[in-house]
Amino acid sequence: MPATDFQGSSSPSLFGRSIMNLRRDQVHSMDNHHETESSQEHALEAFQRLVADLFQGLAGGEELLSLPWVCKLLEAFLLCQEEFRVVFFSNRAIVGRAPVDRLATDFFDRSVKALDVCNAIRDGIEQVRQWHKHLDIVTLAFDPTQKTIGEGQVRRAKKALVDLAIGMLDEKDTASSFAQRNRSFSRSHGANKDHRRAECHFRSLSWSMSRSWSASRQLQAIGNNLSAPRGHDVVATNGLAVPVYTMNSVLLFVMWALVAAIPCQDRGLQTHFSIPRTFPWAAPILLLHERILEESKKRERRNSCGLLTEIHQMEKHVRRLSELTENIQFPLAQEKETDIRNAVQELSLVREAMKGQLDLLEDQVRQVFHRIVRSRTDGLDCLSHHPV
């Protein structure tokens, strides 16, 4: 990382630098504005640096796509958003005039679209919480204080495991799963049929969005026509086209990563990211994008309803425990019992780790929501007070 010395010529040719070169060539007559111009350039460049650093930090540190990582991602977003606000409002004089006003309006339109994603993610977190409750039952059933594992406990745990397995299926697979579930239970009363119906309905009730809403479509809308500003755009907007493009890209990436990690309605990861490498934050973001895509293509994750590592862990342990309790004979062999206890222990660790994190994540998503609304309201306000 080059030293944070903006005056120095040792830093690599960043896009920000080339703005300065362009501007110096074209507006050399405005000598008396040099003071404010260069502090403006500093601010813009500082913003680029901040975004680059934050996303660089996300490439290392926490495990990619874990709950702590997602929280960190949202923190990074909030910081970028705040800084962007500062840049925006310190330029309010030119913000209201063309062509910056168009850019700003466009940004606010995109950010409104992100709000629905936040709401869908909130639903997704709630779903994960439901699974967490099933985990509670499983760990309770295999209560370690009980000296032996009895048939009753196994039956109790199995029921929760099956419910969990069904719950965690990608919604496209829901239909086939019910047949499976009932086979493993061989019950035949009327209550069960109603139960099935209720479960089926229950699944669709877990979303508060309308049936036709689609996360992947929403992401496409956010990224629609998003392209790096050309040289003349940058000059025409006093350099502001760059932070606006930056913030748009950050918004798109963060929303995309959320959709990748958390279950939501009609997840799709096809969003294309093409960011010119001249931006200092392009490399870290593109790297993260690539890694997340890689993760999604792995065999065991392809049908996952969310790429969160905790979800993966849950899937793994649930599958293991289900296998262990599949055709179980009583009394239990010692080895079998130990295996089960170990598996439960692992599952319990996952459960413990998730507990507080989910609440934290939900809070952060809400914060992101509020912040986007606030910045949009204030921004539109600013625009409307400076008519063309």
């Binding site: 709000l115 039956r155 009327g190 209720a198 609304v373 409307s384």
Partner: protein
């Protein structure tokens, strides 16, 4: 109340205790569908409760026997804890079955939804808002949610709980829940409960017309469509909160016994629905600020503010509390949206820069729009007084005043912030109208235009007692004086030239004894007068003074100047003309002719070609 039937009073002997336990286990195993699938009727099927009672009692026996010092089971599969699990699985099914089969679908259509509002409200009038908040005010409490701090001395009758499940089924549910919770199966019980009730809640919501709209959907809709949805939402929300959610809470409390054990299943049952309900006002509060939205936003704000105490009561504890917090948040956002919208309106009035002069100098659409708008604002005075807390001078001390240094900001002491805003709006409107008046090439028309519009403003204020109270008589007097002054300016601009034709000087030729009157000058004068008057007639008949009273007053004022002057002129000089050739060329009009002609002035339509009666 279904008692467990366990005889806590008598202490059984060890022998009978063991026998009881074995009997209990046998009973439970008999009802285990895995072991004996032939048994496929439900225990709790509403008819004979004997079996159900026995079953429950069996469970209680077992649990008692599972005290801290319970012996290790002989065979694991027949252990009491194993049997308990079997019983719990059975109970869970029974529980779910009861909920699904015995739920009465609430007849929401027949509910008197109007009565769900506060008693003094009339929820069905056009604005769908209420003026009567003041009647229900008690001491204001601090509302931690911010926004409206009003806490109505609410009559409990605004909440209407209904039976979602018949009482005997509730008893059964309660008995089952008791056992499940006591055996450590609270989670399963809660899950079974919420999964069964969730679909009922969702159905209820749909029947009440609550839609699933994303923020994007709401953004895309036309405002007229949204207005209808807001009206519908307000009605639906009252039923949702005061009937649906309230009843679910009550059912939950009844089934789970204590509020603390009811908290989790309740939250799970209604959280999704509550979020869905609140998502609509949230989306509205996020929308772009646009003046026409103000009043519906206020309606929404008031409705939510009204519901907030009920929401606080129903979602009072546990995970459901976040719903209350969210509702309070949304209320604050709606308040902000209202403020922002008013602000946007003020901007719009300031910036409205149409440069096409209104033909005929009549009322400008802007005037009508603004005055109607602020009349409506005065209707919403109670709410807006609470929401609007900053005066315009505070807000507009920055850019706007430097952009428009010519605006004379009046003294705004002793006014509520809202009233200050209204005065300010009128000031800005006036300023805007003055700019528009300057677009007229004809000075007289310019004055007429301004006079018309100021007069309209004054009348509108006078028409509304609330508005008048806020604007104040002092300011009203100022405006009145202004438009009267404009009437005078108009007259001067339009008629001085004409009256000038009827002046004395220049007609009498000095010196000469005989005639003393220059006939040629006189002839010129008459011709000039006729031409000028014709011109005035032609032009000013097309001008329009919309207010009949003002129109009449203006005509009278003109005629009071014109007619005596003409009469005098005629009287003194007509015989000079009549003694000459072609007098009719010069004396075109009689006084009556002029009087009649004046009646055509300011009618707003160009004069039809008609022969004018002449009399000499």
């Amino acid at each position: 109340m279904a008692s467990s039937g366990s005889s806590e009073a008598a202490m059984p002997s060890p022998a009978t205790a063991i026998a009881d336990v074995e009997a209990a286990e046998q009973l439970i195993h008999r009802w285990d569908p895995v072991a004996s699938p032939s048994h496929d009727r439900m225990l709790f099927d509403g008819s004979d409760r004997a079996d159900a009672e026995l079953y429950l009692r069996a469970i209680d026996h077992l649990r008692q026997s599972l005290g801290p010092s319970s012996p290790a089971p002989a065979s694991p599969s027949r252990s009491p804890s194993n049997t308990i699990q079997i019983a719990m699985a059975r109970l869970e099914d029974e529980f779910r079955n009861l909920l699904l089969s015995r739920s009465a679908e609430p007849d929401l259509e027949s509910l008197d939804l109007g009565s769900l509002s506060i008693s003094s409200r009339s929820s069905d009038h056009d604005h769908d808002h209420d003026h009567d908040h003041d009647q229900n005010l008690s001491d204001a409490e601090d509302d931690p949610g911010g926004g409206s701090t009003r806490v109505a001395s609410r009559s409990a009758s605004s909440i209407r709980e209904i039976d979602l499940v018949p009482p005997d089924a509730v008893q059964d549910l309660r008995s089952i829940a008791e056992r499940m919770v006591a055996a450590g199966y609270a989670r399963e019980c809660a899950q079974a409960y919420s999964s069964a009730r969730k679909s009922a809640v969702d159905t209820g919501l749909r029947h009440l017309g609550v839609e699933r709209l994303s923020i994007g959907d709401v953004q895309r809709l036309e405002w007229e469509a949204l207005e209808a949805k807001i009206r519908r939402w307000i009605r639906a929300a009252r039923a949702c909160v005061r009937v649906l959610f309230a009843s679910e809470r009550r059912l939950c409390d009844q089934v789970f016994g204590t509020p603390s054990s009811a908290d989790a299943p309740f939250a799970e049952t209604v959280k999704g629905a509550a979020i869905q309900l609140l998502s609509f006002p949230e989306a509205i509060s996020i929308g772009r600020r646009s003046p026409e939205k103000l009043f519906k936003i206020l309606d929404l704000h008031d409705a939510l503010s009204d519901l907030l105490p009920d929401i606080a009561a129903i979602f009072r504890s546990g995970p459901a509390e976040s719903i209350h917090t969210q509702a309070a948040d949304i209320l604050a956002r709606l308040a902000e949206a209202a403020r922002g919208t008013l602000s946007e309106f003020e901007n719009a009035v300031l910036r409205e820069a149409s440069r096409i002069p209104v033909p005929g100098g009549t009322l400008h659409p802007l005037t009508r729009y603004v005055m109607n708008y602020i009349s409506l604002i005065s209707d919403y005075q109670p709410t807006l007084n609470e929401l609007i807390v900053t005066t315009p001078s505070a807000r507009f001390s920055g850019e706007e005043t430097t952009d428009h240094p010519e605006i004379n900001f009046p003294d705004l002491d002793n006014r509520t912030p809202l009233a200050s805003h209204l005065v300010w709006i009128i000031v800005v409107l006036q300023h805007n109208l003055e700019n528009k008046a300057s677009l007229y090439k004809d000075a007289a028309l310019s004055h007429l235009f301004l006079m018309n519009n100021l007069h309209y403003i004054v009348n509108k204020v006078k028409d509304s007692p609330e508005l008048r109270g806020m604007i104040g008589d002092e300011y009203l007097r100022r405006l009145t004086g202004k438009y009267r002054q404009l009437a005078t300016s108009y007259q001067r601009a339009a008629w001085v030239k004409i009256l000038h034709c009827l002046r004395d000087e220049g007609i009498h030729v000095s010196g000469s004894f005989s005639s003393g009157v220059s006939k040629s000058t006189l002839r010129e004068r008459f011709k000039a007068f006729n031409a000028a008057f014709d011109e005035a007639y032609r032009t000013q008949a097309a001008w329009f003074v919309p207010d009949p009273q003002l129109r009449e007053e203006l005509r009278i004022s003109i005629s009071e100047r014109l007619l005596p002057a003409y009469r005098a002129f005629l009287g003194r000089f007509r015989h000079h003309i009549e003694s000459g050739r072609h007098p009719e060329v010069y004396i075109k009009y009689s006084v009556e002719d002029l009087e009649m002609a004046l009646m055509d002035f300011f009618e707003g339509c160009p004069p039809s070609v008609h022969g004018r009666k002449r009399s000499h």
